[in-house]
Amino acid sequence: MNILVILVPCSLILGLGALFAFVWTLRHDQYDDPAGDAARILLEDDEETRHLS
């Protein structure tokens, strides 16, 4: 059962990674406009958007 000593921290670190990723998306307003984000995927990245980014 010594393998648990490695496996448990591994699973916790992976889970924490996902949690931090989630908090990051939340901080960057990624849940503000789900419908719009889904629609924007179809838009071409034209000159104008590149300027702003």
Partner: protein, 710 residues
């Protein structure tokens, strides 16, 4: 984050752009009720970003708004006109919505999800046979994750439960908080003595699923609130003031007593005042229901809400914006909360039965087992297990999931649901009462029957060139004609439109401006043809009434108009009962009488004279063209005056009602199976996890079945 590996994210366009708008802090917001796809986003953003007076514009499709960064005192009127030019209806939002406040809830949901999944992984190891020191080790790790996570994530429940308990009441959050706290406490004790069963995963999945329901509920409430804000924006909130000789545009709220306002023909009177022009024609249907035009002369009183049929005219205000008749009526309607406040939602009725029942059962289990075995600790364990298993996980999701799906479908169809219990009340409707003027019918300009065909063609060409509501109303009557060839067309704002028909000068507009005739006149060369105002049924009105009658509803028509006009319209539309020449108070009384007979009445109306009736009725719908006061009073608003949306709203409401009841039955069924097991002392953490997850998922999936088709 290693996002760069995804080609679509290298540019990271949307995020950076959103940040740009946020850093520049949006100064204006426009509401765009008709946008629905990526092409709309592109068109709106390209148009607005190309303007020199706008720093940045970004569309939010979920909220159907565009946030604009510009200088704070910029006038949004030209943007609205520009958007109208490419086919998008736009309204200025009053005040920018504050940044979303459910971020805290979503964060809690995320943490609960993370903790639940990790603890569940550890629990699977325990369930598949880990024993002795390994089990204790896994339990301790689970405890270190679960305790802080549960205490942090479940705070919203603790807070509402505590505020209910303090005033001696029970709500749904009391059994929830109790279950979470007891599950954590019992599991911690069990872990410390090396016991077999720990309920950490149950405590967390309970928190996770219920937070999910809570997030949906908050979003719904916010959507209802922003719907109400959208409606306020449909009312014109800018007026043209005469400052000496200059015309300046200013917000309605800045109007003071004694200001001189300039009104184009077809615009609505924003504030009560006295007519300064020599003569004018007004439409009072919004206030009284009369469909005929009324002539007034200099010095007569104009009341807010009336529509100018001739113009342009000037008026001197005799109150400021807050003292206007319109505002007073709005306040009246908001005080007279009717059915809305009397109705108890299905969820709270369920909670009222459920919460005491759950507590009684657990307490009975504790007493019963203590009495039977004398082992108080074991009895306590069984009582807590009962509480955890019966906890209203599915019940917490049953209503919000269905309501989210239903209002989402309605929002996409252009229907705004303002009240949280509106759908439940709409599902119970058995009688529909329509107001006539403005709701089932409108007034249109019709040419004399002996007008020659070429004159009709000229009329059509002129009317087509203008966006003015009066010109627009001419067009349906001329649908089968070809417009004449015209040149040099130009519109004189608020007065009329001029052009050249070959060599002959032609004009369509106000009689005063053209210089002959009365009302609205079509001039060809030297000859003038008067246009009369007639009432006609809206194109979809007859179809809507028929559909409603086929659904088994009784249809009434109420109007402040004369018996003759009412009977004519009733015959065209085939309604069951007609009541003509009724005052606003009488309208309210009629609805009250119908409800006293045990009928559930849906009132559909748009005028100020309908506000009382709208609040009195069991449920109410207002068309998008209605005045702010009526829209405030109504539960549901149809954007774009689609009467045909009414049967759809009723179908979705009924479907939603069925889904909610099914969801209640489903969660009751799960409890019927698991409560006896828990009471008998056979409950295990695995069983609790299974019961909770399956019931929550079935309830959510069932909610997705809410449809408009019966």
């Amino acid at each position: 984050m290693t996002m760069a590996s995804c080609p679509g994210c290298i540019a990271a366009g949307p995020v950076a752009e959103a940040a740009a708008v946020r850093d520049g802090l949006p100064t204006h917001e426009l509401i765009l009720p008709t946008i629905h796809c990526s092409a709309c986003i592109r068109a709106v953003e390209t148009l607005l970003n190309a303007r020199t007076d706008i720093a940045a514009a970004r569309v939010n499709l979920s909220r159907k708004r565009v946030s604009i960064s510009a200088s704070a005192d910029a006038d949004p009127a030209p943007w609205v006109t520009a958007l109208a030019g490419i086919g998008f209806e736009a309204h200025e939002a009053r005040g920018i919505q504050k940044h979303t406040k459910d971020d805290g809830l979503i964060l809690r949901l995320g943490i609960a999800g993370f903790a639940m999944m990790n603890v569940m992984l550890l629990s699977v190891a325990v369930w598949s046979g880990a024993a002795d020191s390994t089990r204790d080790f896994l339990h301790w790790i689970a405890a270190t994750i679960a305790l802080p996570a549960a205490l942090f994530c479940a705070q919203p429940f603790f807070i509402t439960a505590w505020s209910a308990l303090r005033v001696g009441r029970l709500n749904m959050d009391v059994p929830i908080s109790l279950a979470i706290l007891l599950a954590c406490g019992l599991s911690l004790y069990e872990t410390s003595v090396g016991g077999e069963h720990a309920y950490f995963d149950a405590a967390l999945s309970l928190t996770f699923f219920l937070l999910g329901g809570r997030v949906l509920e908050t979003r719904m409430r916010r959507a209802a609130r922003s719907a109400a804000a959208d409606l306020a924006a449909l009312e014109p909130n800018r007026v043209t003031k005469l400052d000496g000789e200059a015309r300046v545009s200013c917000p309605v709220d800045d109007v003071k007593v004694g200001d001189t306002l300039w009104l184009a023909a077809g615009s609505r009177v924003p504030v009560d005042g006295v007519l300064l022009a020599a003569r004018a024609q007004v439409d009072r249907s919004a206030l009284s229901g009369e469909s005929d035009a009324i002539d007034i002369v200099k010095g007569d009183i104009l009341t807010a809400g009336e529509v100018m049929l001739s113009g342009p005219v000037t008026l001197r205000t005799n109150v400021d914006a807050s003292g206007s008749t319109l505002r007073r009526l709005i306040q009246l309607a908001s005080v007279a909360e009717g059915a809305r406040s009397r109705y108890t939602s299905l969820a709270s009725r369920a909670a009222a039965i459920y919460a005491p029942l759950v507590h009684a059962l657990s307490f009975a289990a504790f007493l019963g087992w203590t009495y039977a075995t004398g082992d108080a600790y074991n009895a306590l364990k069984i009582a807590i297990a009962t509480l955890i298993i019966t906890c209203p996980c599915a019940l917490g999701l049953a209503v919000p999931a269905v309501a989210t799906v239903a209002t989402g479908r309605l929002f996409r169809a252009g229907v705004l649901v303002k009240s949280e219990t509106a759908l439940e009340r709409l599902a119970e409707i058995d009688t529909v009462v329509f107001d006539k003027t403005g709701t089932l019918s409108d007034s249109a300009l019709v040419p004399e029957t002996d007008l020659p065909a070429d004159a009709c063609a000229v009329l059509k060409a002129l009317a087509e060139a203008s966006n003015h509501p009066l010109s627009r109303s001419v067009l349906p009557g001329l649908a089968d004609l070809t417009a004449a060839e015209m040149s040099d067309i130009n519109e004189h704002r608020g007065q009329g439109i001029k052009g050249m028909w070959g060599e002959i000068p032609v004009a369509l507009g106000d009689a005063g401006w053209i210089g002959q005739g009365g009302g609205t006149v079509l001039q060809i060369g030297a000859q003038a043809h008067a246009l009369a105002r007639r009432e006609r049924a809206l194109p979809e009105a007859a179809e809507t009434v028929r559909t409603l009658r086929n659904m088994g509803l009784v249809v009434h028509m109420l109007t402040g108009d004369s018996q003759g006009n009412a009977d004519r319209m009733a015959a065209t539309l085939n309604v069951d009962h007609v009541h003509a020449s009724v005052s606003p108070e009488r309208k309210q009384a009629l609805i009250h009488d119908l409800q006293a007979e045990g009928r559930k009445v849906l009132m559909v109306g748009d005028g100020l004279n309908d506000t009382l009736a709208l609040t009195q009725a069991w449920a109410s719908i207002a068309p998008g063209t209605a005045l702010e006061a009526s829209q405030n009073a109504a539960d549901v608003v149809l954007l774009g005056q689609h009467l045909a949306g009414i049967p759809k709203v009723l179908h979705i409401a009924r479907s939603a009602q069925r889904r909610i009841i099914e969801n209640f039955s489903l969660s009751a069924l799960y409890n019927l199976i698991f409560i006896p097991l828990a009471l008998a002392g056979f409950a295990t953490p695995l069983m609790a996890a299974l019961a909770m997850s399956t019931s929550s998922i079935t309830v959510t999936l069932n909610a997705l079945r809410t449809r408009a088709v019966p």
